[in-house]
Amino acid sequence: MALVDRIGEGLERLGGGVILTSVDALVDWSRGQSLWAFPMGTACCAMELIAASFSKFDFDRLGTFPRPDPRHTDVMILAGTITEKMKPAVRRLYDQMPEPKWVVAMGNCTVSGGIFYYDTYSVVRGADQFLPVDVYISGCPPRPEALQDGVLQLRELVRMRSLAPGKRYERELALPRPEDASYSNEDPNPPSAGLEGGDAS
């Protein structure tokens, strides 16, 4: 339990409705204002994700700051095709992110499979098959402005509290876990004994 939750409980016992409402507003503001991104760049869209955070488009203006470590981030930006082989790793990285967390599906591949919907045997048709996606951005790939607009939409949703962790958690639980997939990524005959140190990142 975070420190602030305890403070909140204490305030609630004191019956400070006005204080709590103001604190809530402040909390929503801060959460919406600093949506740090975990750039889950798997394919083509990663290029536009990089473009969005660099000189011309400058994601940092909006307070969105890409961090390579899932533990420090708030929103996972799924940029690119997710394959069946990649799926468990994506889910694992999502699980490593601390609550409250959100998911932005960037590009048609993560929305529905996009151009890789038909005839292929290895592509996941939409990230919402195993992740609770909050904002969908179509395009193949979407322009950096579209991605920034998507993050601004997410900010509005966060501030309106329509994406409260509890509600999201219900959606998350309803999804099948990719660890139950029929196959794993582990080498049955690894090059030498012992594998897998650290996390998936």
């Binding site: 069946e84 082989k85 045997y121 196959y183 794993s184 049955p188």
Partner: protein, 156 residues
């Protein structure tokens, strides 16, 4: 390298390997030699000595009863390219690896093994490369079926 020189080179390799026979024709500019699968190793060594020091591509084509294996070689000294084609039976897909001749075959043969299920004998590290290690089936075979495939409606 002119057409005549190329034909002469192929003729030289043919005399060297008695059983070598032209399975495929010369087409679209690149010379093609067909070899029997059991002759692949010796042909590869001969071609390597003839100056073909680069293996550009290894791939396979599913021809129903057989798999057609395609090797593309290139020589900087001769400034020539050559296709080497051979066939392996579908029910016994075994072929000698050319890793010893051109190390470039390492990953490319792994890929063919992964996607077609053709076993390269003598390959040092024949594991799946693109698909997960415990995947079942070989996706690029024409008869590959997987519950994950949605067929595209035919509206061309």
């Amino acid at each position: 390298m002119t057409q005549d020189e190329m034909t002469a080179l192929i003729a030289r390799i043919r005399t060297h390997n008695a059983d070598l026979y032209p399975l495929f024709s010369l087409e679209f500019g690149d010379a093609v030699v067909g070899v029997a699968p059991e002759e692949l190793s010796s042909t590869a060594c001969d071609l390597r000595e003839a100056g073909f020091d680069r293996l550009t591509m290894v791939t396979a084509v599913d021809r129903g009863e057989t798999f057609e294996l395609v090797y593309r070689l290139h020589s900087r000294s001769l400034t020539a390219s050559i296709f080497v084609k051979t066939v392996v039976r579908r029910d016994d897909p075994h072929i000698a690896s050319v890793y010893d001749v051109w190390p470039a075959a390492n990953w490319q043969e792994r890929e063919v093994f992964d996607l077609f299920g053709i076993v390269f004998d003598g390959h040092p590290d024949l594991r799946r490369i693109l698909m997960p290690y415990d995947y079942e089936g070989h996706p690029l075979r024409r008869d590959f079926e997987h519950p994950n495939i949605i067929r595209r409606p035919d509206y061309i």
